[in-house]
């Protein structure tokens, strides 16, 4: 554990340096939005009524947006209120000093995200977002979220629906989340096509049937938990599959989730052409690790459904998983 000591030392030194830094800066975003708001005075905010003079359509549809309540809050500072709370002081726009102000579709992802992050500290900080793979792929908040309207944009994405794995036959499926551009399945699969295609396989998590959705397992925002993830000893799968979680008196090493890939050592989480989301078919799954059992050990059907190793995920009474 020498590496642990070194890394821990570096971490502690960083924190001490941070705590004692004379010029430590608050977690404020940088970029055009911060610059505009920093130099604005109260007189530079003209109010949403003025914006409506030219942008009546946007102002009207914004009323139904999930953001409307927050931005209409009279207790909020002017810099976080109304249209100008996101787009910047209207006076600059009218004076044509910054004619576009904060135009999210024209900003770089980094600057656009910085503008959103001015208000979302209760979800995460800019630095936390900075370390996510979505940020590293140069995605902006507005790549997935729509701000003005509350009507799901998937009505506009009817063409994309023919590519979606979501089953049109199933009725009882979650509605599109507020502020997302489309339902999660359509939205996520517009970039993650290969992953999405796995849900078409014969054995799959019931995502096409609407019983789970992407964010049930994947946390896109670093400090927001995925709804069905319980991050305890064995990560990810415990919330829905608690019966396989243990800890058991006799753990099956891969399932313990402490070494290897945990559940993913045997299962493919999105979908598989093998039953039960398994990586390989029948006893081939067990034989790829327990090679000595391949042909010499009861050459019957699948190890668990033949009635022998029925407690493969772990047992409280038998070290060979012959009973629960």
């Amino acid at each position: 554990m020498r590496l642990e000591t070194v890394v821990l030392g570096v971490g502690l030194v960083s924190l001490v340096l941070g705590a004692t830094a004379q010029k430590a800066v608050p977690d404020q975003p940088k970029g055009i939005a911060a610059a505009l708001f920093a130099k604005a005075s109260e007189d530079d905010y003209v109010g949403a009524e003025t914006c409506a003079g030219c942008h009546a359509e946007h102002v009207a549809e914004f009323k139904n947006s999930g953001h409307a309540a927050y931005s209409n809050d009279p207790r909020a500072p002017l810099s976080k209120r109304g249209c100008e709370g996101c787009h910047g002081p209207g006076k600059f726009h009218l004076d044509e000093e910054h004619p576009e102000n904060v135009a999210f579709t024209k900003l770089s992802a980094k600057e656009s995200n910085a503008a959103c992050m001015r208000c979302h500290a209760e979800t995460m900080s800019q630095s936390q977002w900075h370390r996510t793979s979505h940020q590293q792929a140069n995605l902006a908040c507005v790549s997935c979220h729509q701000i003005h309207t509350n009507t799901p944009a998937d009505e506009k994405l009817a063409k994309a629906k023919i590519a979606s794995v979501s089953s049109p036959l199933v009725v009882a499926k979650p509605a599109t989340k507020k502020l997302l551009k489309a339902d999660e399945v359509t939205l996520c699969s517009s970039c993650h096509q290969a992953e999405s295609a796995q849900f078409r396989l014969n054995s799959h998590h019931p995502l096409p049937e609407g019983r789970v959705t992407c964010s049930d397992c994947h946390a896109t925002h670093p400090t927001n938990k995925a709804r069905k993830t319980v991050d305890i000893v064995k990560e990810k799968c415990a919330s829905c599959h608690a019966e396989h979680t243990g800890p058991f008196v006799f753990e099956h090493d891969p399932v313990a989730g402490l070494t290897g890939d945990g559940c993913a050592e045997c299962h493919r989480s999105h979908g598989s052409h093998n039953p039960k989301l398994l990586k390989s078919f029948s006893r081939g799954l067990c034989a790829s690790c327990h090679t000595e059992k391949t042909t010499t050990h009861y050459p019957g059907r699948t190890c668990w459904s033949a009635g022998c190793h029925v407690a493969l995920h772990g047992s409280n009474s038998d070290s060979r998983f012959l009973k629960p």
Binding site: M1, L3, V7, L8, G11, S14, L15, G18, A21, V25, D27, N64, A68, A69, N72, A121, E122, M124, S127, Q128, H130, R131, K161, I162, A163, P168, L169, V170, A172, P174, A175, Q193, A194, A197, R200, P206, E209, R211, V230, D231, I232, V233, C240, E243, P247, F248, F250, D253, L258, T259, H273, F281, A287, S288, C289, T291, E292, T295, S305, P324
Partner: protein
């Protein structure tokens, strides 16, 4: 009444309804001819949503064959159903808003949500209720399994930058499985209390989670996991940020000593320039599980760094992760320390206008193989894990295309096992006109596997190849009518030496939908889905369904 008679009766009902609704449809078409021209299909004339929306329907399966296999993940609605009943209420000042959404009732499968936002968004109350019915994928007649969940979320903003959130969920799962597996009746409860927001120039939070599992068959012990967490993150300088988190979990099981897991994590990022970012992450877990009598990991660390550099339209992303575990052997004779070193590289960029490419690869190598306390003491862990993926996607005005090839290889040198999988995924969309669009996708997967102990060292009998073809089309053949068609075909090639179920199958799933939308935003739809599934080794799970659903949507 026999199953066939029931099916025949359903067919007659279906025909009567189809006839009625066809008449309605024709009437709509006739009426539409006298109306002024509607908007173009890609700009539907949707009325502004003010009142509630109600969409109801009727459906039937017309199922022949295995009911259990058809319903293994849930089924389409059968009989009368509410497809969507939703409403959003708000005032001019938007100081409050309330909404509800009901889907599926009065069917057994349903989803409901209600949300109230008060006090200019400072208080949010949300509730969900879901119920799903499904069956174990068995050739035998099985009782229907069900899963019910109720979830409540309450969020209170304390300031503009900080909030307290409470989440509670209770899930009930009753599953009936094919013998010899016993049925399961279990409950899981989840309670999560979190407070987080801007603190002392950074972002911080504390949380408490209480997770409980009850087994009503008393075959497994009831389990409680309590978890306390804290995290803090801040910018140390304009270009350097750092953060840390701590978590303590206590696991209590009936009749067993308590287990604990203590974790802390540190992370830091340095924006070296506008083009280059460097980040580090470290996590340590200390695990005490006195209940476990065979091998277990008592300590593990994960540490790594990542360098991201952008050059023009290209981004290079290189990461290294070191993972090591202290693994106590099953006989408590020794502690092994397996170490995994993983390197990953990703290169993303533009090859041309609208043409993007991503190449990524990972290599993970195991050092310090553990010794197994079994008759065969050789390590069962993979020595090497390698993946490679190349992905290209092209977007243009009228078409989009994507393709990827993924290669995975796993090797256990001590046991002479090699598994190599290659998967392809090719797809694209094409807009032939503003009203006609097509989609197509082909996926295939092939595995070559060899290992000791198998005849000729050939493992292929247990690693089938598979292919999936998906096609789709959307056609707005009149301004107010749109037709969609999707078709999916799945299949495997498998030696299947034991002639087991689920090894050689073919499925064909066609879904046709017709929607008529009025100028007022109301809709009338017909859905027809002839689905066929055939297992070549076990015909008892085959099915053929001709699902039909008729829906009508009204915006008040």
């Amino acid at each position: 009444m026999t199953r066939i008679e029931r099916a025949t009766g359903m067919k007659q009902k279906s025909r009567a309804l189809v006839a009625l609704l066809s008449l309605g449809c024709l009437a709509s078409i006739a009426g539409a001819q006298n109306e002024p021209p509607a908007a173009a299909p890609d700009e539907p004339a949707v009325a502004e949503r003010k009142g509630p929306v109600l969409e109801v329907g009727w459906g039937d399966w017309n199922l022949r064959g295995s009911d259990t296999f058809f319903r293994r993940y849930g089924g389409p609605a059968r009989g009368f159903f509410i497809k969507d009943f939703s409403h959003l209420l708000t005032n001019d000042a938007a100081s409050y808003r309330a909404s509800w959404d009901v889907r599926g009732l009065p069917q057994d499968d349903h989803w409901m949500n209600g949300t109230v936002v008060l006090n200019y968004g400072r208080t949010v109350l949300q509730g969900w209720s879901t119920k799903s019915e499904f069956t174990d994928s068995s050739p035998f007649t099985m009782p229907v399994s069900e899963q019910k969940a109720v979830e409540v979320l309450a969020k209170q903003r304390l300031t503009h930058d900080a909030a307290v959130t409470l989440r509670y969920s209770m899930e009930q799962k009753d599953r009936y499985l094919e013998a010899p597996r016993p049925e399961r009746h279990q409950r899981t409860r989840y309670l999560d209390l979190n407070a987080q927001g801007a603190v002392a120039g950074g972002q911080g939070g504390v949380g408490y989670t209480d997770f409980r599992y009850w087994d009503r068959t008393d075959k497994r012990p009831d389990t409680q996991v309590q978890r306390w967490t804290a995290h803090y993150d801040r910018n140390l300088t304009p270009t350097i940020d750092a953060g840390g988190s701590y978590a303590h979990s206590r696991i209590t099981q009936t009749g067993s000593p308590n287990s604990t897991v203590e974790s802390y994590a540190l992370g830091a990022g340095w924006q070296m320039s506008d083009r280059t970012d460097l980040s580090f992450a470290f996590k340590h877990d200390k695990i005490e599980v006195p209940v476990v009598r065979n091998s277990y990991v008592r300590e593990r660390i994960t540490a790594g760094g990542r360098l991201v550099h952008r050059l023009g339209a290209w981004t290079a992303n290189v990461g290294y992760t070191h993972r090591e575990a202290e693994r106590v052997r099953a006989d408590r004779s020794f502690v092994d320390v397996p170490i995994w070193d993983k390197t990953d590289v990703r290169l993303t960029g533009k090859l041309g206008e609208g043409l993007r490419m991503t190449i990524r690869g990972t290599y993970e190598h195991l050092r310090g193989r553990p010794v197994m306390v079994m008759a065969d003491t050789r390590s069962t862990y993979w020595d090497d894990n390698r993946t490679f993926q190349a992905k290209v996607d092209k977007t243009a005005d009228r078409f989009g295309a994507y393709g990827s090839v993924t290669y995975r290889a796993q090797r256990n040198t001590l046991r002479d096992v090699n598994i190599k999988t290659t998967a392809f995924n090719l797809g694209g969309t094409f807009d032939a006109s503003s009203s006609l669009s097509f989609f197509g996708e082909v996926s295939s997967e092939k595995t070559d596997a060899t290992g000791e102990g198998v005849q000729n060292r050939n493992f292929d009998a247990f690693f089938p190849s598979s292919r999936v073809v998906a096609l789709g089309a959307s056609y707005g053949f009149k301004p107010e009518f749109s037709l969609t068609a999707t078709y999916t075909q799945i299949g495997t090639d498998n030696v299947n030496p034991m002639f087991e179920r689920g090894g050689n199958y073919k499925g064909r799933f066609l879904t046709l939908g017709l929607v008529h939308r009025t100028k007022q935003g109301n809709e009338f739809g017909v859905l027809f889905a002839p689905w066929h599934y055939e297992d070549k080794t076990d015909a008892s799970v085959n099915y053929a369904a001709s699902v039909i659903a008729l829906t009508g949507k009204v915006k008040f």
